[in-house]
Amino acid sequence: MFNNVRRISLFDEKSLNSTSSDTASMWNDFPSVPSDLPPLPADSVPSVPSLPSIASDVEVEQPAPSNYNYETHGIDEDHPGLNPDSERIVELQSDIHDKLGELMTNKSDQDVLSAAEALHGESNNIPFLEHLLDDLNKNGIEGEAYKDALDLSNRLGILPDKAALCDAAEPWQLGFQDAASPMMQGIIDLHHDIFFFLILILVFVSRILVRALWHFHYQKNPIPQRIVHGTTIEILRTIFPSIIPMFIAIPSFALLYSMDEVVVDPAITIKAIGHQWYRTYEYSDYNSSDEQSLTFDSYTIPEDDLELGQSRLLEVDNRVVVPAKTHLRIIVTPADVPHSWAVPSLGVKCDAVPGRLNQISISVQREGVYYGQCSEICGTNHAFTPIVVEAVPSKDYGSRVSNQLIPQTTGEA
């Protein structure tokens, strides 16, 4: 079945199965289309041992791989199924991958592979691939090709030095979103603490229950035991269950009271005002008189207007821009009916009650974009009022806000 497989597919599989270093040495051993290359017998293929020889009807002696020295000649008349162009394409793609691997020294193999794939894009265009490879060889890190590779791999969502973080709801998500504030981190840690005791109790109670059902089956054991007293076990089963909630309560109360403490003056006050069915954010620290402060509305982006890569029901047109690693005070209030301002990554869910200003103190610990949704039924479009918080570096915060300030005040005034 494999007798007529083209040589190209043999190399493809091997390059998929091997790391970049293996690929490089493999290419040294088996360069591109030779006109008189003998097919490989199955037992000489190192990484895919199950592949049989390409053409079983050609008898060949097998010299040592390092002695191969072939050139690209054109159509291989002895093996008409082979295509020198395809060979060359794969060779170029593999060389690009190797070169990127040399240049990207601090990235994992997987990242290098993804970046290389993004860069050459599985293209069939030999001049394009040769140009990319030339650029990488000549210009290295400074060149266009390297920059493109990084750019593309970033845009594809591959964070170079860390795993992708979960800051929005994922389909079939089971755990929490990744924490971006100390409060959320505390909540996650408390969850882990309690979960341990939870599993302990679950396993213990289930075992007792199953054991009782099993051993006291009416057919196997028609006369149940008639023990009615047991002082030791009664004492133990009273003491232990009262100790376990103490272990749960200690971290729980610690977190609860630490959430209420306001030890540091906030640097910024942002008002999140809920409307039916959008949000308004006010940054009022900067206005010098009673005229309108930096205020903008935040509407959800409807499904038809979403761009590739955006999340459905989670994206808004104007995000709340906050500086990272800064203490913020968010004042949540509605303009009409009760809403709730919730951002799971920041560990925040604050009800917006008409006529009342609710304050939450948060400090976003890392830059990023965090998504949340309205959490109190507020009418027909309650599901379509998301919240997006974008944390930017503190030094960029000023320019971001003033960029929004200028068009806003000319619009509002």
Partner: protein, 74 residues
């Protein structure tokens, strides 16, 4: 682009809880008391003005004519 100095109404120990409605109201009243005491346009009162503007939503009708007079008499 000059750095915007990040400053806002400080955390007031008189209002330690989540409900800050009274905080907004108190700052507003303090501002108008300050104006009544020191005269309109005084610079010291600007501080209170910034505080209440930071805390109170812009949509709240705090600038109704007549409201200021009542606030300063509270």
């Amino acid at each position: 682009m000059a750095e915007i100095e990040l400053k806002t109404a400080p955390a007031d120990f008189r209002f330690p809880t989540t409900n800050q409605t009274r905080h907004c109201f108190t700052r507003y009243v303090e501002f108008h008391r300050c104006l009544a005491a020191k005269g309109d346009g005084s610079a010291e009162c600007e501080r209170f003005a910034k505080y209440y503007r930071s805390l109170c939503p812009g949509e709240w009708p705090l600038h109704e004519p007549g409201l200021c007079i009542h606030a300063s008499e509270v």
